[in-house]
């Protein structure tokens, strides 16, 4: 049994406790998550790293209520996630979780502004105008609000996605390779916005990435391999992340 690392810490925005995810059965069984226990602290920018097939995306999907665990528990704040039905999961995603995907983040028929407030509109709620202004200014979208996604560059589209993820002031934002499709300049911009969202606006972000430079924007990096947490790093730099990857790869 691994130690219940931070089970007593109450400031965790999201927690996985002995999380197990198994795909298939018998000969073809794959353990994507093999007894993962982890806390993701509120007000912090955490990166999850690992090679392809390490289970990093699965962990994020389970934390976000997009996928079901085979065993174990997942919590968002004080809400246990893995026992919710589809309707409550949907409400949880809508109200408590923000998402930034690698690509296809926006609804093409809606304007940038409508995309930003989409989760709120789906809930039938009005956005908090002051917060919305702050978010929009943070990502620098003011002059692009009435454009449709097809009229925006890839970097602008991801900025809209970040703004959407933050607009409902969620308990936690999950970002899945948010810069995977961008050039280095646009990537740096997006990571910078995410960092500011955490540092200046007090948001919580968990980002899945395989890029050491991206990971270096986080304040903590969790390393996964073969469905287990194998190590972690606080206040990482690109170099320290690469070193760690080499070390883990060499084991």
């Amino acid at each position: 049994m691994p130690p219940a690392v931070a089970a007593t810490v109450t400031t965790a925005a999201a927690r996985a406790v002995n999380a197990v995810k198994v795909y298939g059965s018998g000969q073809t069984e794959v353990r994507a998550l093999d007894d993962v226990t982890a806390d993701f602290d509120a007000g912090r920018f955490t990166a999850i790293m690992g090679p392809s097939g390490s289970g990093k995306s699965t962990l994020m999907h389970c934390l976000a209520g997009l996928d079901n665990l085979t065993a174990g528990e997942v919590w968002i704040g004080d809400q246990r996630v893995d026992t919710l039905d589809d309707k409550r999961l949907t409400q949880l995603r809508r109200d408590q979780v923000g998402f930034v995907f690698q690509a296809f983040n926006l609804v093409p028929t809606l304007t940038a502004a409508e995309n930003v407030t989409l989760p709120l509109s789906l809930a039938g709620r009005k956005p908090d105008p002051a917060w919305l202004d702050t978010v929009i200014d943070t990502v620098g979208l003011r002059d692009r609000l009435h454009h449709r996604p097809s009229e925006l560059s890839g970097g602008q589209q991801q900025r809209v996605a970040v703004a959407r993820a933050l607009a409902s002031r969620p308990a936690i934002v999950f970002a899945d390779e948010p810069t995977g499709n961008l050039d280095s300049r646009a990537s740096a911009e997006i990571l910078d916005f995410m960092q500011r969202a955490v540092e200046d606006l007090g948001q919580t972000i968990v980002m899945v990435t395989h890029d050491p430079v991206s990971a270096s924007h986080a304040s903590r990096v969790v390393f996964l391999a073969d469905g287990r947490i194998v190590d972690e790093l606080a206040d990482p730099t690109a170099e320290s992340v690469i070193d760690m990857m080499k070390r883990l790869g060499g084991e």
Partner: protein
């Protein structure tokens, strides 16, 4: 390449089926029509072959007046001396006079059986032991006494009549007979649903014909004498005004007459099948258009690795050919079921047709395949060509959406076609009106809207969906956006529905206007208090009823109307006879002369007809009635009405003089001063009691019976159009399903960021409703315009009123919205069931 197409096809079985369904229904309707008409035709062919089996030659009057539908030609009667003459001819073994007249049996419940004006004939004739009599006694004995009769077994069953019963026969005078025998027709209860009353020769002549006269003489040839020989020998001795044909020729004639009637009926049904197929072709076009758009990358890859444009074109066309073949096979099989359904529909509408064993002819099978395959491949051709034009480079690009901008060419052509439509309609409604111009205008309007559809789709769905965001929040916004995001697709989906709805709208508006016109005529022109008419508005009753009514104290005046076939000038036409006092009951809008003086050789003529034929008071019109030669009738009255009186009419006396059977189809009655309405109705009803086919109505009842006739016709047309509309709804479901497939990632995203399953369903549902309403709005717009144009063009025919039945149109809109909801059920469920992770990961 062929293998690749086939594999691809198999991988998408469900879509193949859904797409085929659109053509299946049209093919099934078409095959059903062909099977039904072939079956009915064969039944009649066999029937006539049986009826005429014993007949080697047939002698009859030479002059003929053709009826409207080929099967009701009338000839003058011949003298019974002809029988003796023919019997004396060498080679004639037997000659029998034949009477075929109207005889309607009244059942035990007092109701007349059958409806000769609208269904199988009800006839009476001579019962003989001759080989010429196609009936055989199943029970009882042959009629001997003047009041004895044999009836067919179907009538006996329907009317609950048995041997020994007294029964009433309308001839049209009601007569009392004793049923002494029940006859069958071979093994059948009745020949094709017709009813038959057989009496001895004198009684049959007396009741169904004319004493001393026959309608024809049937001849059996002596052994060894051929039909042709006996015919030629008889022809040599026949006096002028008579003709003789062989039994085979008679059978052929009978069969052709039925085929002609069936051809008319077949054309109508095939028209509706054609509409359904046309609508189906939109679905195929649309489906393949979407498939090609979705497969752009795959097709580009094929091109990149060396497939030629031709090969790409072929893969798409092969898929459509499979759709066509599948649709043809299923449609053909379903057609046999449809044939039964159509028969039931026609039975329900009162058009009972006899049908024996189902006949599926080779030509039906061939037609099914040619049409099914043709529609599928032709409709898929344009999308296929677009597929062939996909550049290999598209494989490298992100999945491209269909181009949605309307081309300049489309706009120009569309505007030109709409301009043509406007000009044609304007020409059609101006002056006396021109129906061909209205027809051209109608066609151009529909084509124009089809061409401009993609331009109209966005603004109209935008307007129709305007309240949605407020009503449904974000789901409403998305539904509205989705409905107009691909205007070309939305337009062609809605177009399929538009076609059906425009026809429904047109028929509804036109019928409402026609009915209003009729009501206006009734209100303005009818002075009568009571109208007696044949049941259901068809058929007739004995003129003796009018005589009976004249004797009633409650009644001031009685006038009768009857109609039949005559040759006026050169053409065969409906000819009416009115009592000359009818001017007191109905305002014909007399401009010159008077009806009272029509007499035996006068005619009243509508002013328009008079103008067209250069007729004035005192000029003459040649009219030939069935029993008389050609006579000149002097124009003694000119009138403006068209609804009741048509183009011309004569007096009842003139009418009776030369026609064989006299029915009154309407009798008008005015009350004596001071007689209460209820007393009048009661008195007339009492008088009409012995005449079961006469219906007594006051003006309100008469209006209602007219309205009921319109409704029956309307319901029949609605029923036939339902298929086209149903196919269009399948099209909406299909387009939605394909669009949803295309939007998999978007739906995954929406679900991830918090859209509930219910909201997903609601979005799809409202998109569907918007598409359905778009089709309905366009359809009703077109239908209203065309209904108005048609009514305007027919002003000179007496269609003086235009009426928009808003209530009915509102009902159509509500039904369309409901249909939209229903069409969305399956796609909405699929959309809501998408697995979020799969959807996000989807390419």
């Amino acid at each position: 390449m062929l293998r690749a197409s086939l594999k691809d096809l198999w991988a998408r079985k469900l879509r193949l089926l859904a797409t085929s369904a659109a053509v299946v229904l049209g093919v099934a309707f078409m095959c059903g029509t062909l099977v039904l008409t072939d079956t009915v035709g064969r039944t009649f062919d066999d029937l006539f072959a049986d009826v005429n089996r014993g007949t080697d030659a047939y002698v009859r009057g030479e002059a003929v007046i053709e009826g409207d539908f080929g099967d009701d030609a009338q000839r003058p009667r011949i003298d019974d001396s002809i029988v003796t003459l023919v019997a004396g001819v060498d080679g004639v073994a037997e000659a029998e006079g034949d009477v075929l007249g109207y005889a309607q049996i009244v059942g035990r419940d007092g109701k007349a059986l059958g409806n000769p004006g609208f269904g199988a004939p009800t006839f009476g004739g001579i019962w003989s032991d001759s080989a010429l009599n196609p009936f055989t006694l199943a029970e009882g004995t042959a009629p001997v006494l003047q009041d004895e009769a044999v009836i067919d077994r179907k009538s006996a069953k329907d009317g609950k009549l048995a041997v020994g019963d007294r029964a009433t026969i309308l001839t049209p005078e009601p007569i009392q007979v004793t049923i002494v025998g029940i006859a069958t027709f071979g093994t059948l209860d009745s020949p094709g649903g017709a009813s038959f009353v057989g009496m001895n020769r004198a009684a049959a002549q007396q009741n169904f014909g004319e004493p001393g006269k026959f309608d024809a003489v049937g001849v059996v040839a002596a052994d060894g004498v051929s039909q042709e020989e006996v015919r030629d020998r008889i022809a040599a001795v026949l006096p002028e005004g008579h003709e003789v044909i062989t039994g085979a020729e008679l059978t052929k004639e009978n069969q052709d007459a039925v085929a002609q009637g069936l051809g008319f009926f077949r054309t109508i049904l095939l028209t509706f099948a054609g509409i359904a197929l046309f609508v189906g072709s939109f679905i195929i076009y649309n489906t393949f258009g979407i498939i090609v758009a979705q497969r752009t990358r795959e097709l580009a890859l094929l091109r990149a690795i060396g497939a030629s444009r031709r090969q790409v074109l072929r893969t798409v066309l092969i898929e459509s050919a499979f759709v066509g073949i599948l649709a043809s096979i299923v449609g053909l099989l379903a057609g046999i079921g449809v044939a039964r359904l159509l028969k039931a529909l026609l039975d329900a509408a009162g058009l009972e047709v006899p049908a024996g064993g189902i006949v599926v002819s080779t030509s039906t099978v061939v037609t099914a395949f040619v049409v099914g395959l043709g529609v599928a491949v032709t409709s898929a051709y344009f999308p296929a060509r677009r597929a062939a034009r996909v550049p290999p480079l598209a494989a490298m690009r992100d999945v491209a959406f269909e181009r949605t901008t309307a081309s300049r060419v489309r706009v120009v052509i569309g505007v030109v076609v709409v301009a043509v439509a406007a000009l044609a309609l304007a020409a059609g409604v101006s002056g006396d009106g021109s129906l061909p111009m209205v027809g051209l205008g109608a066609l151009a309007t529909i084509v124009g809207i089809l061409i401009l559809g993609p331009l109209l789709a966005r603004p109209i769905t935008g307007a129709l969906g305007a309240p949605l965001p407020r009503l449904k929040g974000m789901t409403g916004v998305l539904a509205r956006q989705n409905a107009s995001r691909n205007p070309k697709r939305t337009a062609s989906t809605a177009a399929a529905l538009m076609i059906g709805v425009s026809l429904v709208g047109f028929i509804t508006v036109f019928a409402a206007s026609a009915q209003k016109s009729v009501n206006q005529v009734i209100d303005d022109n009818f002075v009568a208090d009571i109208i007696v008419q044949g049941s259901g508005g068809f058929g007739g009753f004995s003129p003796r009823l009018a005589e009976d009514l004249r004797d009633l104290d409650e009644i001031e005046q009685v006038a009768a109307m009857r109609f039949g076939q005559a040759i006026v000038g050169e053409s065969s036409a409906f000819m009416m006879g009115f009592s000359t006092n009818v001017g007191a009951m109905f305002d014909f809008g007399l401009t010159e002369g008077g009806i009272e003086g029509l007499g035996l050789d006068g005619i009243a003529v509508n002013v328009d007809y008079a103008e067209e034929n250069d007729l004035t008071l005192g000029s003459t019109v040649d009219v030939q009635f069935v029993q008389g030669g050609r006579n000149a009738y002097e124009v003694r009255a000119l009138y403006t009405d068209k609804i009741l009186a048509g183009s011309y009419f004569v007096s009842t006396e003139a009418f009776d003089r030369y026609t064989t059977e006299q029915f009154d189809s309407m009798v008008f009655v005015t009350a004596r001063d001071g007689v209460a309405a209820t007393d009048l109705v009661a008195a007339v009803e009492d008088a009409a009691a012995p005449y079961p086919t006469a219906e007594v109505q006051d003006i309100a009842g008469f209006k209602e019976s007219q309205a009921a006739q319109f409704r029956t016709l309307l319901n029949l047309i609605y029923g036939l159009l339902f298929l086209a509309i149903f196919i269009a709804l399948l099209g909406i479901a299909n387009t939605l399903a394909l669009s949803i497939h295309e939007r998999t990632r978007e739906l995954g995203l929406l679900r991830a960021v918090g859209m509930t399953k219910g909201q997903v369903r609601s979005t799809v549902r409202w998109e569907s409703v918007l598409m359905a309403l778009l089709g309905t709005a366009l359809g009703l717009g077109v239908g209203l315009l065309l209904g108005w144009a048609m009514a305007q063009a027919m002003r000179s025919e007496g269609f003086t009123a235009f009426s928009v039945p808003f209530g009915q149109l509102a009902v159509i809109c509500v039904l369309a919205a409901i249909a939209g909801v229903v069409a969305a059920i399956w796609p909405a469920r699929r959309a809501a069931r998408l697995d979020i992770l799969d959807a996000i990961a989807a390419e």
